[in-house]
Amino acid sequence: PHIRTFGDDFHTCAVQGAWPLIDNDYLYVQVTGAPASQGTHHTVVTKITIIFKSWRQCTDQQLYQAELDDVPAAFADGSQWSGERRGRRVLTVRTDSPGRHAEIRAAYIGTLLVVRQSGRSLGLSVRSPRGVLEAFHPDHDLQLCVWGCPASYRVDALRPPPLPHAAGAAEAHCAALLPTRDVYYHACVFDLTASGDLNSSGAAVGALQDARSMTGSGQGVHLLPAAAAGPAG
């Protein structure tokens, strides 16, 4: 999968198995990657696990799990919210598209998480205060959202794999969907070329939508790769 880190680095990461994205005093987020298809080392996220750790009088521990074709709008125990203070629920789950989208708001840590299924992969976007993200022990040094993808697992997203889909057609399709030749555009071309599945472009489009709503302004949404910048199309 592609990773935009809290520090606005962008990596394409061929990791398999379970990897932590966030591991701090409040939150543990883990993604599980599996090969996109037989015979390829490209991987997709097939499972997302989120543990909200018990925090003082605000909330008890809660577990959220999403898998491919099963993105529930509820925690693992079936509840849709936890903790209530002054008439406000401090941890809630809701959905705009049952089975394919979930939005989790953790007001007690000012954190928003959005889980989406696009095509045959899952995606996750997180917005969290710096003070929350920095509350971890130095031992917790494997957090893809904090440190990015380990160098040995990185793939060059500016060089999409050849076949099965023609690169020109992928570029045209992604340019029609994404306004800027930014990392989301390159991720879209990469995914389309690797998978040959037009639906896979939805992942980059959804991630850009989340970046727009989570970063709150035009500036800083479009990360530009060093080798390419400017309008798409």
């Binding site: 994205l21 002054r86 007001a107 000012g110 954190t111 929350v132 970063t215």
Partner: protein
Amino acid sequence: CRILRCNSEFVAATVHLSGGGGAALSSDSAYCGALRSYSLCTKRTARPCRGDLAYHSAVQGIEDLLIQHRCPRAGPTARPWPRPQGAVLGDACLYERSFVSREGRAPEYRHCSVFGD
């Protein structure tokens, strides 16, 4: 079942005592008070937790620790967890509101995403 809250309150009540080591703790009335509070907390949540393995582990663990540390069954309990009072403290579970009232500005947010093929 609120056993995780009981566990958290016990950890919070004893975390500052652990520096003295196990031997020092055995004579520490504060530790015994925290254990008695923990025990009371489990009793309050006994009914909803009756099928919960963590609850039964906690109850058994408390019994063992009370014996191990020779704690009297009756006696003072640890000071209860401080509950929020007033408008500002009442916002303790609303991060942004509490941050703004403490720092006078909105927190700095960061964004991360993982997506694609």
